[in-house]
Every structure is written in structure tokens, then in C-alpha cells.
């Protein structure tokens, strides 16, 4: 582990960014493959090979482009670009807030893409995606706030090298973050705008009118995003790297487990429960921290 962190320290920001761009999709794709196998096993199926997500994406990329309007693919390209950019910022050790805002920008592009095709299904998906975004955004910002309160910096590098385990100060914030992570991972019960599970819907919400290469881009962006989110989980435990990696992986499996065990919530419940959980777990943690100072 020390070798890795020393190597990381020696790279420049540009090198770190580049490395993230290359490794993250491999990692994200592999995680997606593991996800599918694990889900299948939980359902008593055998499941596809672990590399199946890569096969899917390669196949999608080769397919004919079928579109309903000329510019609909452009927001998707921007969605991918900005997702990569925010992940790169994070793993380069730059500003956590900037990462969050840039990720929100990426999300906005996806929503705008879905709106622009003006199909009723993707319209509904987009509306729900906004609600999801509103549901998780406060908690994501509070993660940054909490980390700043403890470490005195928004800088990911500084937070990661802080001389105490963050989780001891931020258990509530961490719990809240794990809660909204289910939304970000697009897992049931919060997979309102689009779902990984074919049995839940006939028309796939936000991506209804996106097929072939555009759909592949959305999938790749999702891989990048997942890696970034697990990176944020890691940050809570960065004091002991092995533990951090373990918890990040455990969180990932927990999300799969939750995904398998819940039916989809309505948006009302999704929205209210997220805000309430954010308030109970996140806000209380922040206030306690501010009183401790």
C-alpha cells in the first residue's frame, strides 16, 4: 500500500488525471460485472461472465445510431466528459466541492438530454431524475462540509492525508452518504429514473430514446461515476488505506444487497426519506461537530 501512495505522491496532477481516465472505466466495468454476477447469485441464477458489461458496451458502440432529434447525443457526450472530469479532479487530489459541483453539472446534462427528446417516457424519467438529484444533493454537499469541519480543507489530498480517521468524527455523515449512495448507484428502491432491472419496467425512463453508441456512453459515464463515489467512501477511512478499500467494497456489496431486497419506492418516499435521513444523520453530525470546536 505504501508503494502505491508513494507513487501517487510522486505523480503530477495531470498524470493522476490521466491515470484515472484509463483505469476507472476498467475498474468500473469490472465492478458492474461483479454486480451482475452477485445479483444473479442472490436471485439463484448463474449470471453472465464478469466481463459481460464490456461486451455489452462494445456491442452498443458498433450499433446503428437511431435518434429522434439531431442534437440529442450532444448532452450525453457532455455528460460523459464532465463525469470523467469530476472523477479526474477527485483522484488528482483537487477540491472536493469543485468535484461535487462538476458532477452536478454532468448530471444536469444527462437530464437536459432526456428532456430534449421530448418523449413522454424520458420526460418522466428526467423529472424523476431531477427529484433524485434534489434528494441526494444536500447530503453530498454536507459530506464536503463535514470533511471541511474536521480537516479544515476542501482539498481531497489534504483530507486523505489527515492525521486521524475521519469516520470517527463523521459517522452520521457517512451513514447519510451511504443512504443517498443507493440513489447515485441507481439501485432499487431508488432507481426511479432508470433501472438496471429489465423486469421492473417496459420502457427505461431517462434513456428511452438513447440507443447504440449513446447508450454505451451513458453506461461508461456510470462506471466512472461509481468509481468516483466509492472513492468518496474511501475518503472516510483514508487513514487506514486497507480498511478504506475494504469498506468501499463492502459498501458496494451492501448496495447490491439492498437492491435485491427492496421493491421500488415512489418518488414521494424517496425524496422525503432522503431529506429526512440527511437531516437526522448528516445535519446532526455537522451540528455536533460545530459545538465540539
Amino acid at each position: 500500500m505504501n508503494v502505491i501512495s508513494e507513487a501517487y505522491q510522486s505523480w503530477s496532477i495531470a498524470e493522476r488525471m490521466l491515470l484515472f481516465m484509463l483505469i476507472a472505466p476498467l475498474l468500473g466495468g469490472a465492478l458492474a460485472g461483479i454486480d451482475r454476477v452477485a445479483s444473479a447469485r442472490l436471485q439463484g441464477r448463474c449470471g453472465p461472465p464478469v466481463l459481460q458489461p464490456f461486451f455489452d458496451v462494445f456491442k452498443l458502440l458498433r450499433k446503428e445510431r437511431i435518434i429522434v432529434n439531431k442534437v440529442q447525443d450532444f448532452p450525453i457526450v457532455l455528460f460523459l466528459l464532465f463525469t470523467i472530469f469530476s472523477g479526474a479532479l477527485f483522484f488528482a487530489g483537487a477540491d472536493l466541492l469543485l468535484t461535487i459541483f462538476s458532477l452536478a453539472l454532468a448530471g444536469t446534462f444527462l437530464i437536459l438530454g432526456a428532456f430534449s427528446v421530448s418523449s413522454p417516457f424520458s420526460h418522466l424519467g428526467a423529472e424523476r431524475e431531477i427529484i433524485q438529484m434534489v434528494a441526494y444533493e444536500p447530503m453530498v454537499i454536507l459530506v464536503a462540509v463535514g470533511m471541511y469541519q474536521v480537516t479544515g480543507s476542501f482539498n481531497v489530498g489534504a483530507i486523505a492525508s489527515y492525521q486521524a480517521p475521519l469516520i470517527l468524527y463523521l459517522p452520521g455523515v457517512f451513514a447519510g452518504f451511504v443512504y443517498i449512495l443507493t440513489i447515485k448507484f441507481r439501485k432499487s428502491p431508488f432507481d426511479l429514473s432508470m433501472s438496471h432491472h429489465a423486469h421492473q419496467e417496459i420502457v427505461r425512463g431517462i434513456t428511452t430514446e438513447f440507443s447504440g453508441p449513446a447508450l454505451a456512453l451513458i453506461e461508461i459515464a456510470h462506471w466512472y461515476e461509481n468509481v468516483l463515489l466509492l472513492g468518496m467512501v474511501y475518503l472516510f477511512f483514508a487513514f487506514t488505506p486497507w480498511l478504506g478499500l475494504g469498506v468501499a467494497l463492502a459498501t458496494f456489496f451492501l448496495e447490491i444487497f439492498i437492491d435485491m431486497n427492496y421493491a421500488r419506492f415512489k418518488w414521494q418516499l424517496t425524496f422525503l426519506s432522503s431529506w429526512l435521513f440527511t437531516a437526522v444523520a448528516g445535519v446532526s453530525n455537522i451540528i455536533v461537530l460545530s459545538l465540539m470546536k
Binding site: E64, V68, F74, I111
Partner: protein
Amino acid sequence: MTALLFLILFPLAVSFLALVPPHSLAFRKAVGACVNVTLCAVPIYLLITNLERGAAYFHVESKLIDVGMLFAELFIAVFIVYVSVRAKRYIPVLLVVVQTAIMVTFEFTSGHGMQVEHSLFVDKFSIIMALIIGIIGSAICLYAIGYMPEYHEHYEEVKDRRRYFAFLLYLFLSAMFGIVFSNNLMWIYFFWEVTTVCSFLLIGYRDDKASRESAFRALNMNLLGGVVFSVGLFTLYSTSGIMELDKLLLADKGSILLPAVCFAFAGLVKSAQFPFCSWLTGAMVAPTPVSALLHSSTMVKAGVYLILRVAPVMENTVAAQMLTLVGGVSFLVTALIAISQSNAKKVLAYSTISNLGLIVACAGVNTDAAVWSAILLIIFHAVAKSLLFLCVGIIEYKLGSRDIEDMDYLILRLPKLTAIMMVGMAGMFLAPFGMIISKFVTLKAFVESTPVMAIILAYGSAATIFFWTKWMGKIISIKHGVAEVMEHRVSNWEWITLGMLAVVTVAVSLGFPFISFHVINPYLTELFGTIPVVDSFNVLMVSVIMLGLLIILPLGLLYYAFIDKNYKRVGTYLGGGNIDNTTFEGAMASVRTIELKNYYLENYFGEERLINVGVFVSLTLTFIMFGVAVI
């Protein structure tokens, strides 16, 4: 000093010129353009000449002016009484009488001995305000010249009082320059009252039941603010003998807390913060240039300007905390209410209050970082919001509606206008634009001083994303087939102002490091002795995103619209056999039409419910603010 006097007197002269009867539209446009250029040029000149200098104070032989102002105030009072009595409304009469009684007593008891050393001053913050008033204000006046004829074509029943309208707009500009350049508090108060009256008359321009109602509501609330302002002046002079803004900061802070709170209260009313936010949403009945000029970019900014000026006096008091919380409540609650609104102008109004709330909260926190972001918020908001108002004003006549739900496929019907609107909206909340940079620093400032505000900001930002994104989504949806293009009906005159403001929106977002370094930081150094450290890597990254978008967006759109031919185009999936883009054949050979509507979540964010919550909470906070000041 000449430049300052010129900026105050020149619009005043223009306003009287506007009253002069004849002249063709072309002539008025020519004059308007000249005035516009002058009003842009002089503040820029002021900026350049003062770039290296600190604040400068000027003595003005003011005996005669003071008498003149007193008479003008009396005239205004009589005028308000006359108008109110004629409309059978007696609250304004009462308020005016109280206010005039206070001021006249004040004048006679202490007017003779009063020595005002410097009546006018200019520092970096005033220059920023002057630039906003000069550039945005005069651009909106220019737009109004083209807009009003169309307004009267649409509302034939409204009496055509164009000249009177132009008179009020330029008079208002003059008063605004007066507010930001006056060091003499009596002068600020005088100009403050002039803006109140202008706002009242402009809101009531249509002269029907709804607009009279709104106009009087605005008048009542702003007069209440004026009464408290005058009480502040009275107590300030009787306790400390101060009548100047700069001396306020040097005085013993404990003894002048009450006046400072009074001024802050007047500022809260002017900026339409809770519990007084209802006058601003009511004011949306006014013609669009009025909403853009008075109720988003300039007049409401006078409120936060005053609050920012007096905030140092309240530093580290409970009163300041209450001020912060009032701002926070206004920010959060109005952002939530905006989700439930489908009237475009109302969404803009609520978002204005929301942003002003954030500025007020920053003023309450009053650290270098907070004030830094407050000033940037003022700039970014003024530019982007006025742009949006002007766009909505045009859309309203082209579509015959100001309801967001009627703006389907706007990008097909008014493509260029939609593009400009997207710039404005992105300017309000998306990452590379300036607003986000100030939120960034604001968050930092809040975490360090009042973590409760950081939480409010987290929730409020989420709400902000909601209402902007769904509106953006509405206007960029595209359908297959023909849509009626109505863009050619937008006059060149309106394009010029829109283009100007759009360029300024992008320019301030790109140029904010310059603004920060040369204008805001020197001001903060004078005030605090320190400047906030903004991570230069972040600034660089934000600029990279901004530049990236500026390059990628046009190129990408160009590529997808014209070059890219490698696709198969189909109709959208509607759940049956498509007949055309919006109708399909469903089960049992039924023909169904689709309609796409946005979510408004009335049950959660309904206006009435939340307004009551906000009013009660903020009233309590305001009472506490006064309570601790009186004790």
C-alpha cells in the same frame, strides 16, 4: 467628484427631457442610445481612474441642497397622501405622516447644528454598484424604448403614458446613483424614498385593480422601511451625532447598534426579504423592464448594499446572527417556493429573493470571504437575472403567455432567444458560471462561522437546481416536424440589449479573477485588512470549464446539426403507433395526444404554506434582532 455629480444629475436631466412632448420613436431611440453609451462610459471611466486609489470623500456645500431635499421630501409626502386618499387607502397616509413628522422634528431640532463633512464618496464597492446601474440599468431603459410600444399594442386598454414611464425610469437611475455615492445618510435616505416612490408608480403603471393592489402593497412595506430608516437616523444623531456612512464604522459600536439595526431593517424591506417578500412577487404585474430594472438588478440591490455597508457595525452581535438567519430563511424558503411556481416571472422573482437572502446572510456573517462572495453574487445575479427577465418579457408577447408550461419547444420557435436564456439560466446556477464560485466561497465562510447556514445552503442549492433544470428542460425539448418560427418578430432593438447582457454574463464569469483582484480585494483590504484566499487551482479549473464550454458548445452543436449525417432518424416512442410527433394510436384504435408537463410538487412546496412558515420564523428573528439592539 464631477463624475459623481454628473452620474446623479445626468439621468435626472434625461428624465425631464423624456417628459417633453413631441419627437418620433426614432429620435427617442437615438437619445436613448446616447444616454446608454454615456451611462456605461462614465462608471467605466470612474473605475479606471480609481483603480489604484482607495476611497475618496468629497465635501459638498450642502445647505441649499439640504433645503431642496427637504422640500422634495415634503412634496413626495404630499403626493403620496394625495394618491392614497384618492384611492381610499389610509395606511400609507399614516406611515407618511409618521415619517414626515419624524423628519421635520429632526430637521428643526438638530438640522441647524448638523455638520456634514463629506456628503459624497466613492470607493470600489460604489463603483461596482455604479457599473451595474450604469450598464445594466441603461441597457434596460434602452430595451424599454423598444418594448413599450409593443406593450401598448397588447394592452390596448392601458392608457399610453410612455413618457411618464421613461421619466420614472431615468429618475430612478438618478436616485440609484445617489444612493451608492452618498456618504451623507440624510441623502441616502432621500434617494431611498425616491426609489420607493418610483417603484410604487411603476408597479401601478397599468392602473388596473391587480396592479393598484400590488403597488400599494409595495408602497406600504417600503414606507414602513422608510419610517424605520428615519427612526434610525434620529437615534443615530441623538446618541452619537454622526450623520455619515464612513464615520459610522469608526464610532463606538455598542452605542450605535440600534440605528444600524434600523438601517438593516430598511434594507431587508427594500430587498424583499422575509417577512416582506410579498411586495416583490406582487410587483411582477409591472411591465417587464420595470421588473428587470427595479425588482431584480438594481433597486432590490440597494437594500443589500445598505446592509453590507452597516454590517460591520453589527459585527459579532446577536443582531448580526439574526440578520444572517433572516437571510438564510429567505434563501431557503423562497427557493423551495419557486419549485411550485409555473409563472415565469414569479419563478424569477422568488429566485431573486432567494439570492438576495444569500447576500444578506453573507453580510450578517461579515468576514472577508463572506463579503467577497456577497459582492460577486450581486454582480452575477444582476447580470443574469436582468437578462432572464428581458427574455421572458419577449416570450410573453410572442407566445401570449408567461407560463412556463406554455414554453414547450421554445428552442424551435425562438432558437436564438432560447440560447440566450440558457446562458442566463446557466449563469444562475451551473458550475462554470460565476454564481457557483461565490457559492463555493460562501459555503466556506458559513462553515467557519455559522454551520447552520451551511446546512441551509446545502438544501437551498438542491432546490435551486430543481426549478432551474426543469425550466431549462422545458424550453429545449424538441419535436419532430414543423414548428412555427416567430423569431423574426423580435426587433433588432431588443436583440441588441439581449446580446449585450448575454455577453456581459459570460464576460463577468470569465473575468471574475480580474474583478476580484482589482476591485473587490482592495475594498476588502480597506475594510478587513485581509482578503479571502481563493485556491488558484480552483479558479484555473473553473476557467478551464468555462472556456471549454465556450469552445465545445458551439462546435458540438455545429457538428451535430450540420456535419454529422451518420444516423437514422425515427419518431419518439409514445406507447402506440405514432400518428405524428404528439399523437398516437393507442389501444382499441383510439387516438391519443400526449402532453408533457413538469412537476411542481404543490403539496410539498405550495406558496401559501411555506410563506406562512417563512413569515412567522423571520418575524420572530426580526423581533429578536431589534430586541437585542434596544437592550
